[in-house]
Symmetry: C2
Subunit: 127 residues, 2 copies
DNA sequence: CATGATAACGACAACGATTTTCATTCCAGC
DNA sequence: GCTGGAATGAAAATCGTTGTCGTTATCATG
């Protein structure tokens, strides 16, 4: 059981209410480097002994995504989420290993505001 | 009712059987510039008076995607497909208007084999 | 501290896209 | 013309996600 309180200022900063459930979801997300699904977050919270409902996890992720705190990706037909250091950037998402890298470069492509780049990372490519 | 026969060599080239249903699906795809969903393809075939089943449309799209004839994207939680001029390239997909552009440039990003770039196109950006 | 408006919760039902099942039909090669 | 494997299609099953609705927490005020 980590100190969920540390996320309060984060939620306050983006202007959404810092409820206990949202703090728990944030805390669960922070424990992963790879994006995770809503169901996975829910399962982990259950294992931890929390009684947070699945519906609530979905809504927490939706509001936090909208607020820009979290980024949503698609992997194998399901939505997966990842806590991200906000700001202007795009993501490189490997289709094979799921790894995500954040990039700052502007104008990756002429006049197209890139948000997510799906492909295959160098490591997975040589196999 | 277009001449579906023109697709036969295409299917033969990628090594999958040129069944009547697959030809119909290809023909339906070819009528669109934007990616379309399996359900949409199925509906259009129904309207045309074909009795192709939805299951078959899904399977046809899957096999053709695997064969590289068709490219699959994700839009609003559903899979959408687009006929594409094969070869090595990546796609720019606008999240707003759904427009897809094919690009040939290699190494869009250092050592990352980009396949799909999701973002916002120039036209949609200024609104 | 009590109160009331509002946002958030959570259990459950409902939805919708996709996949599985399984019996039937089609095709290519013998 | 047979025959085996691939393809088809109708219906049921799956499964992630969203809607419903009564309950509860939160926050600003009196």
């Amino acid at each position: 059981m980590a100190d969920t309180e540390r996320w309060e200022p984060i939620l306050a900063a983006v202007g959404i209410r810092a409820t206990n459930q949202r703090l728990l979801v944030l805390d669960a997300l922070a424990a992963h480097r790879l994006p995770v699904s809503a169901q996975r977050v829910h399962a982990e919270l259950q294992d931890r002994g929390e009684r947070t409902g699945l519906t609530t996890v979905y809504r927490a992720l939706a509001s936090m995504t909208e607020a820009g705190l979290v980024h949503a990706f698609t992997h194998a037909g399901e939505a997966v989420y990842r806590l991200c250091g906000s700001a202007e950037h795009h993501h490189l998402v490997c289709r094979v290993c799921g790894l995500v890298a954040e990039r700052e470069e502007k104008d990756l492509v002429d006049g197209f505001r890139a948000e997510e780049v799906y492909g295959i990372c160098a490591a997975c490519a040589e196999r």
